[in-house]
């Protein structure tokens, strides 16, 4: 049984994941702790490395339990390989298992995505009323004035109709509990707004969502250029196109950032102007900082697992911890479970 309400919340950390291992993970935990001083940690990995880093953060020491593991999952291991050699014994597995055992409310890892997904699924199991055999990955997407949830961004390539509907249900539950919106605006990513366009799965999911009584405000199809323009709280897509969309947006934002830099550096007078307006550029830089929205959320599991980007620094990792913390605090999994049960029960009756 998982105790989502355990107070104060404990977060389990895979200290060995990511490009930088314990150094970034512990510094990240320390940043997150400064924002949520009551938070507690269970930290899994090589205890000598962890203890060395931990010495830098006296407050973190007081709130943490270090659990030694001998095995770290390599960043380039195949999921099946990782599962074979890392099951039960690796820092990644044990961080997830802490969630299963109720010792932690969410697990955070910057490690190998495929391995984290395989282990999460194997250890925590999928929720009973779900049509997927692996979790979907939800991401926060910055919008002009706020943010929205986009899912799946890469786990379920070629999701079918019922999976798309489940994504919509899960995304909606997430938006309700995280954003406090009673009826979140939910849309389906498609290549046109007309009902005749797109893939059959999407058109079928559209009909189900349109005619449903789900606690959401279903807004129909959303095209790629509108994701960031505040028309939806949740944009649902199959994993392939969701991943393409997410990465294309990241690449484009970076590209425009380079245009801005190069335009400003093109003359002395532009540089002077930019120096005067540096406050504005600082705001812009913060707004576009990819670290702010770090943290891919695995949805559909019996528990919370958050994937931090492998290359993140401590600030970015802290944000992934915060996502796990917020998800646990808002009891998102309980709500998802409830919604899925209700829907699949109603569906069976019909």
């Amino acid at each position: 049984m998982v105790f989502y309400m355990a107070e104060p919340l404990t977060i389990s950390l895979d200290a060995m994941g990511g490009d930088h291992g314990p150094e970034v993970v512990l510094a990240g935990a320390n940043i997150s702790l400064s924002r949520h001083p009551e938070m507690r940690f269970r930290i899994y990995g090589d205890s000598s490395q962890i203890e060395t880093e931990l010495q830098k953060f006296p407050k973190l020491i007081a709130q943490s339990v270090v659990c030694h593991t001998d095995v770290a999952v390599p960043m380039d291991a195949k999921p099946s390989q990782a599962l074979r050699s890392g099951r039960r014994v690796s820092s990644m597995w044990q961080a997830i298992e802490a969630v299963k055992n109720g010792e932690a409310s969410a697990a955070i890892s910057a490690g190998n995505t495929g391995a984290l997904m395989a282990m999460s699924r194997f250890c925590l199991k999928m929720l009973p009323d779900i049509n997927m055999d692996r979790p979907a990955i939800a991401a926060f997407w910055p919008t002009v004035t706020s943010e929205c949830i986009v899912m799946d961004v890469g786990a379920n390539v070629g999701a079918d109709t019922t999976q798309l509907v489940d994504f919509a249900l899960m995304g909606s539950a997430m938006a309700r509990s995280l954003y406090g919106v009673e009826r979140p605006k939910v849309g389906l990513l498609n290549i046109g707004e007309e009902e005749v366009k797109g893939l059959d799965e999407i058109k079928e999911a559209h009909v189900i969502l349109r005619d449903s009584s789900f606690p959401m405000d279903y807004i129909g199809f959303v095209e790629g250029h509108k994701i960031g323009h505040d028309i939806a709280n949740v944009v649902v897509c199959e994993g392939f196109s969701g991943n393409i969309a997410l990465k294309t947006a990241e690449g484009t934002a970076k590209q425009v950032g380079e245009y801005v830099r190069s335009a400003i550096n093109s003359s002395l007078i532009s540089k002077i102007g930019a120096l005067i307006a540096r406050g504005a550029f600082q705001v812009l830089k913060e707004k576009m900082d990819p670290r702010n929205l770090n943290g891919g959320i695995f949805l559909g599991l019996n528990g919370i697992v958050i994937k931090s980007h492998g290359g993140m620094d401590a600030y970015g990792f802290a944000n992934a911890i915060d996502v796990g913390y917020d998800m646990a605090k808002a009891e998102v999994v309980t709500l998802i479970k409830h919604d899925l049960e209700l829907f699949h029960h109603e569906n069976k009756k019909a």
Copy 2:
């Protein structure tokens, strides 16, 4: 027979397409004429409307033949409907037919995309050695220092392996003739760079392209965030994800533009700085102007058809005309035909 080499080149225009009809089409033609003073036009549509607009552009009058048509294809007509009521008699059809008859080297329309596609296919026919029953749409994608070709951006949803390979061949021919690159860098859009990831069609196309002797430098999988970062001349994708990528990039660029504007307007001092650096912002604005890369190229047809965005102004429409002009001048269709024949011939032998 189509005379791609006809000198001076004649371009056929559907004057009735787009949100603004003849007003924008003729003003656009006039801009394009100022860049290529030898160009000639065949202009199809309501002759009284066309003649009125044409009076504004004395040089254009001298280079144009106006061909009256009674029917204009509505922007919201279904392709089958448009074909039924507009075949032979509409401005859109006749502009395409001019290419078929050798009276023009490329047709440009800002009209209904589905109708333009159906009519192009019906009138010009697909090239003999091609595995598609409708043209692919190629788009120019701005990169940090230059541009690349991305295709298909929306015509062939769920393209199969052989279609993806044909896209690669056509895109490569286009890059060779337009950019003068001997062996264009060609990549396949995917959700990871590893060979194990992605859809089966993409993985199979990857193997064919990797092992082929095509006149291209095949670079493997390209992820969404790298499209705009100058790693490929051609990025090949299936129509659904290509459209999602293109529109997401457009939306993100616009979104970042709004961040820049709002950051600058946030204080008086920022406004002053921006005023001083206004030259830089002008450069930035031009760099990000979507009109510069207007023009979706229909590939796989026995002739050149360019789709201008329906909402474009004269400057944007002129750029779509220029794309048609450049494609005709570079004899892209002849090269594509040659490459496809060669490949499919070799393939049969093997």
